[in-house]
Symmetry: C2
Subunit: 332 residues, 2 copies
């Protein structure tokens, strides 16, 4: 590898001058500067980030731990954050934890060793052990979509989202409303459920325990939910699925069982993934303001990095109801 010393020799100057030309940290006479730049060009010199980091104690690297970047919503968040960070001069180290505490531990160790400047965490479920690990980090940490009191976070306001979705169903005339929730540890799912309850209570509707189906936020749980509901005596006329995937599964299974959506069963989702608008019927859903969410997360993180402080802050981004075709008044 070409080093700064090679360049200095080639240009007939000292390493110091090369360094100052590269970094613009000291005045260098025009023709000297040009000689140096020519040498850099000729030798294809790129300063070693490792050496720079060792010296300057910053790495311009941000770690990102995510449960699994295959989930389209997660994938979008990752891509957006990467772009934002690039603009801010940081590179992204991507880590898929797969919800495995050993991998999480291992990644945090690695990232500590790499002396990352900051960390972003996007996980649907957080264990206590994990939170403790995150607390032990000497760099700023920003959580996405999970408000943990001890850490800075930026989240979709899922309570509001759950409320908006449910109220929409109620306004369309539904009084028998079920939901396809996520796992009980899933914090955003809990918040959506709270919004769901609030809207029901406000409308004086009771919550039928049989109509709540806790699943894994995937299409399978949507399918399972519909299968289960069809076996019960009374069937809800509308379903609030806590993400678009389970909504898809629900619609898919309903269609297979001869139920028409939305005539026989209305379904509302959550997330507004790209294909939501492409389905027939197009999916009515709640859209997370991903762009805002990511911008804010990036802003909080880079600011904490720049200021070298990190007072805990909890930000919420309001979601938006997207009305399409999968919800209609009940047929009665």
């Amino acid at each position: 590898m070409v080093t700064i010393t090679d360049v200095a020799r080639e240009a007939g100057v000292s390493v110091s001058t090369v360094s100052h030309v590269v970094n613009g940290t000291r005045f260098v006479k025009a023709d000297t500067r040009e000689r140096v730049m020519a040498a850099i060009e000729r030798l294809d010199f790129t300063p070693s980030t490792s050496a720079q980091s060792l010296k300057k104690n910053v790495t311009h690297t941000v770690g990102m731990i995510v449960t699994s970047s295959t989930n389209p919503y997660f994938a979008e968040v990752v891509a957006r954050l990467e772009s934002e960070l690039y603009e801010a001069g940081f590179n992204l180290m991507l880590c898929n934890s797969g919800r495995d505490i050993d991998k999480q531990r291992s990644y945090i160790r690695t990232l500590k060793g790499r002396r990352i400047d900051g960390l972003l965490v996007l996980e649907s479920v957080l264990s206590d052990a994990y939170l403790e690990l995150l607390g032990s980090c000497s760099f700023p940490v920003v959580m996405l979509d999970s408000d943990t009191p001890s850490l800075t976070s930026v989240s979709d306001d899922s309570e509001l989202g759950g409320y908006l979705a449910t109220r929409h169903l109620i306004e369309q005339g539904h009084r028998a409303i079920g939901c396809i929730a996520g796992p009980v540890q899933h914090h955003q799912s809990i918040r959506r459920f709270r919004g769901f309850q609030r809207a029901l209570a406000e409308a004086g509707l009771s919550l039928e325990p049989d109509w709540v189906h806790a699943g894994g936020m995937d299409s399978e749980s949507g399918e399972a939910a519909v299968r289960q509901l069809c076996r019960s005596r009374r069937r809800p006329t509308a379903l609030f699925a806590f993400n678009d995937f389970s909504a898809l599964g629900a619609i898919s299974q309903a269609t297979r069982q001869g139920l028409r959506v939305p005539e026989d069963l209305s379904v509302i989702g959550y997330d507004d993934i790209e294909i939501a608008r492409l389905l027939r019927p197009a999916l009515t859903t709640v859209r997370q303001q991903t762009a805002t969410l990511c911008r804010e997360a990036c802003r909080l993180l880079t600011q904490a990095i720049a200021d070298k402080r990190s007072d805990v802050e909890q930000l919420h981004v309001a979601p938006e109801l997207i009305v399409r075709e999968s919800v209609a008044p009940p047929d009665e």
Copy 2:
């Protein structure tokens, strides 16, 4: 930050001993080793990767440049590769190029500076300038889904995939077959088109120029294709969309125009994204063997890194036809 010197002082040994304990590179008496490990634990010491890299000239880092990781197929590839690399002891630096040559150049510069051990590239379109940049890298490069003669690559055998898709349509009795292709520079699209042509020729069918719609491999181009086809005098009875997204768009638009799928129009996609099986009708498509593809790419890269050589190699992975519901015999 805690350094190896701090640990040495805390444990009452030399830095050398600490280093050897950490790396297991020399025998250390059991109780000395325990003292050192206790000190490491107490101080929460993690060796600085920057310093190690500077010394050992390896970074255990692999760069990955991808057009955009939001695309679900790309997202899956990224996630899989990250997992494979993690197993092999590497971390992933994710870079979204957005097809912008300036960003590509900038990322390659950064990655060179970071002295990455290897690079993975997943781009749908490659410019000459970009290829030259990639050629100038001193670390091994593995391309995904784009066979460029000068670089090692692992690709889906899209010619075969295009052939399989088209032959399936023909076997179902279709003789009027159109396609929704990708942009002309898109190499995988070109290969799919070649397979398409080969299958048609083999069946003695002619290729109707009006029935070929070149788009952007997104849902919009699928919609546009169907709109265009419906305006032409004679309409094909089947469509081969070069990816699932454009198939989705096509089906969505066809439904809107009152065409039933598959009764009035059969549609076959490519990729087999997760939701393909959830649609009604479930999407008949060609599945890329992503797992194999990623495993092979990772194997080639890590091997090239380990061997410090990199003889160019071109690998192809055979895709698989997935028959579902969106293709049926024509109605005549």
